[in-house]
Point group: C2
Chain length 227, copies 2
């Protein structure tokens, strides 16, 4: 198994498997496999049946949705250690969204059938599953509040702050994704995102340096842009 899954330590340390436990992990790894996919890969399509859950081992993906008119947006960006899309797999429904690799990614693919069976038999795994879907629900609620109430500057500040480890008052946020994807996630045009980042840089709230943003004072960043 260690040949097929050199990242087993990584899997073990994901919040989902810390919560689900070793037994569930061993069981699910049995039928799973890892894939290395280049940036731009469409990992699944909206309306396709959910045959797999994806545990992202490295990189960053966009959960994207298309409306009836064909317009498309980024619903969420998931980074390493996230498991998705649990609801479609559990509900045996088609994916509500598509998923595109925003960077090169390494991903563990867990068959949805095996996952459903394991959840039915393992209360600890079941609990971890409720937790992760609950956390993802909360992320979406936060985003709805962002879109309805918060200015572009506050959305950007909160997005960056989430990428700076909370235990530190300062740090760097990595932004390996295309700016257009981040802008869509934040519900703004790429131009508004650029303008906002440049204004924050000019105000000393952040320092832009390519794919990285240095945040000298996380609290100050979070306090910016208040109405």
């Amino acid at each position: 198994m260690s040949d097929r899954l050199p990242n087993i330590e990584l899997v073990r340390r994901t919040p989902f498997f810390v919560s689900a436990g070793e037994a569930a992990m061993t069981r699910l790894l049995g039928g799973s496999f890892t894939q290395q996919l280049p940036r731009g890969t469409v990992m699944f399509e909206q309306n396709e049946m959910a045959d797999f859950l994806y545990l992202l081992l490295s990189g960053s993906v966009a959960i994207m949705a298309r409306d009836e008119a064909g317009a498309e947006t980024v619903v969420e960006i998931f980074g390493a250690a996230e498991l998705f899309l649990v609801p479609a797999a559990i509900l045996r429904l088609p994916y509500l969204t598509s998923c595109v690799a925003l960077t090169d990614v390494r991903v563990l693919m867990i068959p949805a059938d095996a996952f459903r069976e394991a959840v039915a038999e393992d209360p600890r795994l079941s609990r971890a599953t409720i937790e992760i879907v609950g956390r993802h629900w909360r992320l979406m609620v936060e985003q709805v509040v962002d879109l309805k109430l918060r200015t572009a500057e506050r959305r950007v500040a909160r997005f960056l702050a989430r990428r700076v480890p909370e235990e530190h008052g300062a740090g760097s946020a990595e932004l390996p994704e295309p700016r257009a994807a981040i802008a869509a996630r934040l519900g703004m045009t790429p131009e508004t995102l650029s303008r906002t980042l440049n204004a924050m840089d000019a105000a000393g709230l952040i320092r832009l340096s390519g794919k990285r943003v240095d945040v000298p004072d996380r609290e100050r960043l979070l306090g910016s842009g208040r109405k």
Copy 2:
């Protein structure tokens, strides 16, 4: 028990308890109680610990969120038969939102402790819980897509169409909630909502009559406002 819970048939027919089963229902009803609350009641506050789950027996509630600046919006409107907020209760986290009765309501209050215990011991209840949180996640994703991609007219059309039973091509959508709450749920001002409803009425897509909206052709309504 039938004295304390005259609505037991109603509880049994909710999608959640159809899925969770009779054993879970009987167990959870043991420690639960019903309340009749007037319109405007704050049922719980944002950041309060989640001591109860609420199963709405009749009426309509708003799940509301306040940002750091004190501005408030409607995240979701739940009607009869909905169970909320499962994520806070399961994660033992403070409520991410508050909840206000938009009409007079009748609600079953289920202690969160008892719910967590029952979920840990009853796989069928556990599965029903994953399903409901998954469904609520999907509602939030749909709303994010609405807010990012869809025009006011399309948002209103979809909101009304969801209230007309799908098996019928036509029907009536009841709107017992204040228009301001519906507007906030849809991410628009009350003026935009009024203007949109009036334009739809003038175009023959709907017929406004007070707290009710007649929809002569659900498909035609859903096709309106396409970009």
